[in-house]
Symmetry: D2
Subunit: 346 residues, 4 copies
């Protein structure tokens, strides 16, 4: 069986270790290079003790010349800004690149508003937004994929079918999202200090989260409408999982089963999207460790509103799992290869 | 110092034990009678080991004749239906009654829609809804107070000032609430089994929770408008706390500081309502164990919407703490007596 | 590739769903029958919503005649007593049987002391204790394997090498074990009610847990010494994981590195046993979802004592993972087939 | 009522905020000065949002001259080393000093072994070890009290009665302790990062924790024997609480009820020590937020061993609560003043 050689840039964070976990089960890949500049020359198991005696790979300095010549696929799980810089330098090589950071998710205008001038706008134009179920054709031929943010994944997948089919209004969409703490990364801070988070629940970055323009731009690009959303992220004292509760206005008096039908038709070939029957709703624990995006819906036809609830594992479908799904598509492998494990429950 | 004699009907649940904890610190009360029919004749510490060697009280059978003659105040923390029945039998005694259940919160019509025929509608008319900050005058002279539900408390306190002042629309109000697990009581079930709840997050009773009519009726009664809300409760894997994220439409382009000003004026004499400065938002852990209701707000004047966030401890301000606050008002004691402890943080 | 047909008796508990999760990734098996008497005729996804749209299997009544003729392997994950009864009835069929309950773990004498008369002592004599790393040869030829308890697995694997090699005394062994809540199963009770467990920590069944005789008997059988242990289980408010802290007396003044050497030699061919380097110690989160048993050790040569720390996932190496490991051995498949996934961290 | 003026040096950590919470309920004190050098000039509510709108105190730079002249009591909740330095400078003032750090807990020899040369050994000789129940007489007349460590409190209180009464051997004592994460303080680090701690359980500083010599020295000083212990701390993913499981050897075949009798006699006048009846054992959640130390015991007379289990809230009886208890004793106030609240359960 052919083994593609994979490089992971930025392997000391949670998305990095999740890539290692998932690729370990992937029959067509072999990890041949990992980096983490501040941990260069350490064994990965010194940084992640759960890999002790299981994964023998040494972390290297991040540098184009350190990425082996025969690398087939590069995953970049780097801080914002660092990705664009290194990808710009290796872009001409005969490789597939999947960026798990934010550097290629927004168009130049939005990027400037939220992050500043983009360092390589020509690449930006070539990057394909990697929301696998919606952009599969473009991903299949892409050289550079911008892997979606975790919150946007949890919002775009449930909203796209209803918008595209013209069932809901494109404004007055409210997305009330709740995320586990791994979404904040692995760098210690008071905001992620155990006793500050545990047994609490709060909203944060109210009205100013960088994932809001990503949701609006991508939904607008996908549907052709000018979509506007109100987005509020919250922090749940759990490790993994995002649950988004989405409030929309219906154009007509569709029932819950009407809406379920829209979803089932839209996602009938999408293995990783699980539509719930009427009266059942997702739970972050039902998708833990898996690449599923679960969707449930409840309509109130009388006042033409509906509530949509989605759940993903932010580190899998919201990051590393979807990245591997995109890799599979780019390499023309079956989409579910290596990522079709069932959720770890409980 | 005068000591009022207090009876707690239904002391084997979490609101019962929270009443015991809070009354233990109250200088003007003495608990002289507690009941729990299925644990009758047990020491309370057999049911609640944390009271071991600290509280020596025996649980009795629930019966009017078991409530001592000299009782001044009765707290009923009983299952729905059980409250009305016993209160009906003791109502004529010279006592103050505070019901922590749902039996006297709705008007007869709403009660019938959600629970069935009310067993004693004449008492229903006499009952005062005990949202302390809003109905203080009526509570002061009431014989029977219906203590608010936990979710309604977290929604009504932040919404009332904006509705009353005419700043927001009375429809299209979305209340996305999240509650700790003690809100589900102490009876074991699969839904509250540790491993089913822990490390998960879900919505439940989507579009059909009994607290929705309570919110609508009480806000309508208080403001004189016909208020309509969409209410979605969620379960947080923590013990205590409710955080409600509320989305409203502004009539004019008020700024965040305009809205804060409305709150500060409205609640300037309300010790237990803490209004947050701009850019800061509540967290359930900031109110744990206390009777505070914290409120933060963020306006988006451009599209005339605002996000309001409130936090309470569901067992204190959402139940037993507000019940004692109401008792203080009914007995003409300083409102904060016995319940002015700071939050337990972390 | 040949697919063995597998039946799971008692699939509505956590060990049952964990068998389903692990077998789903196993290339040589197909699940063709699952039972759960109280949920007979339900889809498994009605009982375990995380399997929604992923596993289509109907739960059947537990009965010998319901187990298909062509079944190759039967896993019994049934309450104590129920296993022996059904296994007795199907024992003569041409199948391999792995019992995850306690019915075949103790010898007749110990069984009687702790549970009462054994219903089929002749089978008891044929059952092999399935601690995979220690009893591999007997397991390979067994028809009936008694899968070890979770606590005993966490104690026997670290103790066996030191006892067998004569390094430690066989008495005065203290095993202080801590387990996640899934170890208590999925039946609701006050002891596993979320708010009773969360944010707490306690010992239970102090000096009287049924896993104590299992540890003593199996270690005695394995080593030939009469081994005596003091065993105290504790409940950690987490889902998965057992950490055992074991205090032993050394016969000589072995250093930490001496003891590590004993372990590394003993387990040099055991993929699932990971020995920690000096100064590093296991954590339940480092093995979550995996079949590893991690072991760390610290010697105090001066006073001839040592502390050994082991960690397993109670549902995997402590139950379903080890059961599949045993199945692999019984079927002469590579021992790690289907269970070599990395831990889910965090 | 007379109000003593209190200064808290180091108020930005958890023991500092817990002192504020408890003193807020104390009828005889007023906080007139708090410090936190790195947060100097901030309001305390900027550092601890749960005090927002409730406590109006400004943090000051740590300096002897900043401590007001009329201060009666100084609590020092400072990092190791910082305490001794400042206390040395203010010792001659007419004040009572309670040090919550480690600077005055060990004798000069032990201090040197574990921390280095002590900066003011003459004060060390004057300091009284503040384990309230055992050293009440010396505390009553002390000018400087060294408040015990949290782990030592959980070990010394249950061990002292059995050692003093000669019931158990003074060696071969094993203390297996488990602590919530607030014991690690409020400074962010990877070890206290939410996702590294949550859903895990581990031992740490195996065989080398600084609390071990404190336990041995204080028990030896108190009993007159040379007491030796093996001490292993573990981290529980909860906020508050220490549970210590202690294994001892009995000199005679005392039963559980014999040992309970020893405890009940020894602590008959100690309000904060709660001895459990036979067959019941402590839980950290039964003492949360309170100053109780709960003790349960199980004897195995046959092999002359016993298991003792204690539980405290590490921030209350293990730190700030015991500090206030000591203050009460030093000021000749009733010992329970301000700290007799019931546990917050759940």
């Amino acid at each position: 069986m052919h083994k593609y050689k994979v490089s992971i840039l930025g392997a000391s964070g949670y998305t990095g270790s999740e890539l290692i976990r998932l690729l370990h089960q992937h029959p067509n890949t072999i990890i041949n290079h990992i980096t983490a500049s501040k941990h260069a020359n350490k064994e990965i198991s010194e940084v992640f003790p759960h890999l002790n005696n299981s994964i023998n790979l040494k972390l290297e300095q991040l540098a184009p010349s350190n990425i082996p010549e025969d690398t087939d696929v590069v995953f970049a799980a780097l801080p914002h800004g660092a990705s664009a810089e290194i990808i710009n330098k290796i872009y001409k090589r005969d490789i597939k690149i999947i960026d798990l950071g934010a550097d290629f998710r927004l168009n130049a205008k939005n990027y400037k508003d939220w992050y500043g001038d983009h360092p390589c706008t020509e690449l930006l134009d070539n990057a394909v937004y990697g929301i696998s179920e919606l952009n599969k054709e473009q991903i299949a031929t892409a050289k550079l994929v911008a892997n979606p943010g975790c919150y946007p994944t949890s919002a775009i997948l449930p909203l796209a079918p209803l918008l595209k089919s013209g069932v809901i209004n494109e404004d007055n969409i409210i997305i009330d999202s709740k995320s586990g703490v791994t979404g904040a990364g692995r760098s210690p801070s008071l905001d992620t200090h155990f006793s500050e988070v545990n047994e609490g629940f709060k909203a944060y970055k109210v009205g100013e989260h960088r994932h809001c323009p990503e949701i609006e731009q991508q939904l607008s690009d996908y549907t052709g409408f000018d979509v506007n959303v109100t987005f509020t992220p919250h922090l749940i004292p759990i490790d993994r999982g995002i649950l988004s509760t989405i409030y929309v206005n219906l154009k007509e008096k569709q029932t819950t089963s009407d809406l379920i039908k829209v979803y089932e038709d839209f996602y009938k070939n999408s293995h990783f999207i699980r539509i719930y029957p009427e009266g059942k709703y997702p739970n972050t624990s039902y998708v833990r460790g898996s690449n599923f995006c679960d969707i449930g819906v409840k309509s109130n036809p009388e006042n033409k509103t509906a509530i949509i609830i989605s759940a993903i594992d932010n580190l899998v479908k919201g990051a590393s799992g979807q990245a591997i799904q995109n890799m599979n598509i780019m390499l023309d492998l079956p989409e579910t290869t290596g990522i079709n494990g069932l959720p770890l429950y409980p």
